[in-house]
Symmetry: D2
Subunit: 251 residues, 4 copies
């Protein structure tokens, strides 16, 4: 579970429940852009009371999944491709700052042990031949762990929270594209490149090269733009991407 959510204690568990359920309803397309979210229906469907539901609605609005309607209430947000590209760049910029901070702190070898282990696990995974659906299923959690460990190396809880928030935006994180990736013809190439960027960013951090570590993470984030572009050219692939219903497309 993401850090921000896990810091909420039991008194907040109802808000967490509402948050996860609403998020799922938006990303799966059950709640469509422009359609007012009915508090009453949600209270019933999710099984929480009004107060935690409203907290969750406010939070999802600040994360960019919902928007406030002109006459009050919330609806799933309508996103343009340009908005999504901006969200990807923002995620990359903040992860880039985390990498810069890590490089400039001058950590010791022991600090790198956990993330180096994750890197090796990913190496083992993609060294096997032609990746299949199972490769990606294993890759996604390892990749998320790598990114979380990198954020921790920044030494700033504030930065970690901001990264988590930036990742909450639909499409901003790479993980949403898993089903698209599996079917992309150059799936293996992209995995090799992504992992090589992981390795290079660790090298840069170890060498105290903050500027290089930062630009590598920003370039790494841009892979998500590539996935999105490929998905946009293939309606069947796009249908598998969580949040696809939020995306306004020029038809």
């Amino acid at each position: 579970m993401p850090k921000v959510l896990s810091t909420m204690d039991k008194s907040q568990s109802q808000t967490v429940k509402a948050l996860l359920a609403l998020r799922e309803l938006v990303l799966s397309g059950e709640l469509l852009p422009g359609e007012r979210v009915s508090e009453l229906a949600m209270v019933e469907r999710i099984g929480v009371s009004r107060t935690p539901l409203r907290s969750a609605l406010v939070r999802l609005e600040t994360e960019g999944l919902l928007e406030v309607l002109p006459n009050g209430g919330y609806a799933a947000r309508q996103l343009s491709v340009q908005d999504v590209f901006a969200a990807i760049e923002i995620r990359g910029a903040i992860e880039g700052l985390a990498a810069k901070f890590a490089a400039e702190r001058r950590l010791g070898a022991a600090d790198f042990q956990p993330i180096a282990d994750t890197q090796r696990e990913i190496d083992d995974l993609i060294d096997r031949n032609q990746p299949n659906g199972r490769t990606f299923s294993s890759y996604v959690p390892l990749n998320e762990r790598f990114h979380e460990q990198l954020a921790e190396l920044s030494g700033s809880l504030f930065i970690q929270q901001q990264i988590e928030r930036a990742n909450a935006h639909p499409f901003a994180s790479a993980s949403g594209f898993i089903d698209v990736q599996t079917q992309m013809p150059d799936a293996r190439k992209i995995l090799l490149i992504a992992q090589d960027q992981h390795i290079c960013v660790l090298d840069a951090i170890r060498a105290g090269e903050g500027g290089r570590a930062e630009t590598l993470m920003r370039e790494h984030a841009r892979l998500a733009q590539r996935y999105l572009r490929q998905a946009l050219e293939d309606q069947r692939a796009m249908d598998q991407v969580p949040g696809a219903s939020m995306l306004r497309r020029v038809s």
Copy 2:
């Protein structure tokens, strides 16, 4: 009024009222870190009902002014100097992206008219001799307008909202330091430098130099770190900075 707030219509006006009032109470130090905010007391003091108050509490938590207490409820957030420096860098990184986007869109001369006018107004203001309190009182709104117009040049409403959000963090924006600035011995020098960065970033955007425009805005944001460092060395100056009570200081 900031964009995000102004898009909330009347049905949200109570939330806006609660938001502004709570913000003021935190920044002025009436609500102290660690002390649970009493919903009942706030409802009475601010004059709004529970629902908008709670919306405001959630929103201020996502902005980093409040934190969730272990046993439920909210309190003003305790900030470290390192957190504040990270918040300043994040604000700079997102404003840097706005400048990059603006440069890469290739705007026409007419698009620059409004921001160029603001730049000239600031030029006129600081060309007069030794700045005084009144200079700064005039500078702050002009500076805010310049930054808003720059964000608009990005062409992305999403980026504008993220900048506004980043500025909501106490200390992240330069405007909080106005009273400190007025009394700083090198006040005029800093104003000249800040305005020169404004002029250079516009030149870079006009010339399509996205990378340069971005790094200039990031360096510009770092001026806030300089203000904070100076204020930290002078308790009397620090007492005038909104949010000072949130800052944990090594004593």
Copy 3:
């Protein structure tokens, strides 16, 4: 033949002859660091008169292949690994500027035709399975053509000349490592990554993203550091690298 040399006309053909011959003697290790180059022996061996030989010696000194000895005359330069890494970064920085200039000029689709053709030829080459010696023999001239075409897109003859000069430094350009590459276990992976960087830098230039194009070229140049590190761990591989005799190694 490189641009700088080809602009020398026939009256300079003797200098070009001396330049190429001396370069070969240094890189092959016939002229060793610390050993004074005998003008007399060179005049005889290369078959040029003293004047063009001396011009060539001066030029190779400015390029970093020769150094002036304390008591006069020239010798092959002794290089540290750190010097070589610096030379690689300088090459990357200047190629990065070329990419930035190209992006900020806003070229038309026709301007990209020649370099896009080269990119596709490289794509075709490395799409075939496991690369062998022949793949690399074909890759090197295509890669050099790509880099020359990129330098031309900068629109600055001055930048092109400076890139050529930076490439003249032993090890700074990737082409010196061809024999090492062929035998590296991850040869194919590195080729895929290098070519992906080519494709991304063209995308960035087309989109007017100067900052991104620049950092991509700098990262691309860093591949040469990787080759060098791998070669340094394997004496047999190192013996095949032109200029290996110039490199001072901590033993």
Copy 4:
């Protein structure tokens, strides 16, 4: 005397003599673009023999002050404003690398003593009121010392030599503009900004912020573009700039 020249020993003193004299003749406009430099006349005028004169001609060609004529021989190089801007960016890029290397080496406080002393001397100089001709006469050597000390902090002799070479290009270094600066209406402002960049780059290096140190030095180099633009608008000012005769201007 620059490092590269000072490493030439007495056996090379005639080449150094020829180099300095030829340089002066080109920058003062006695040797004009397109006019073939007569070896015979130079031998007589400078008082050196042919061999060192030819060495000097080759070296000045690699530095970009001379060019090879189609039918042999050398002439002062015709420069476009675009070439000069590129030369300024290259100088900034290499000085930027020096600052990056310095930041990533993690030096101790003692290493910064000499350059910090220079910084304070410049502070003292420009704290006095309105600068006059004497201020600039004192500023130029202090500024050159600051830049040399910064290059030394890189720890790479190779980088130092490349910076020196980049500075040899007419207009690339700030020092050529001293007479223009003295008469510029915003002379004091530019001095304040330049010195503030010096201070910030030292702060960034001390803090291990390589990326920031690098972009600051690049922005610092851009001040020379500003001087050139101002000089180009004022023929009388331009006549005082060394190398003005080399510059092709659209009339």
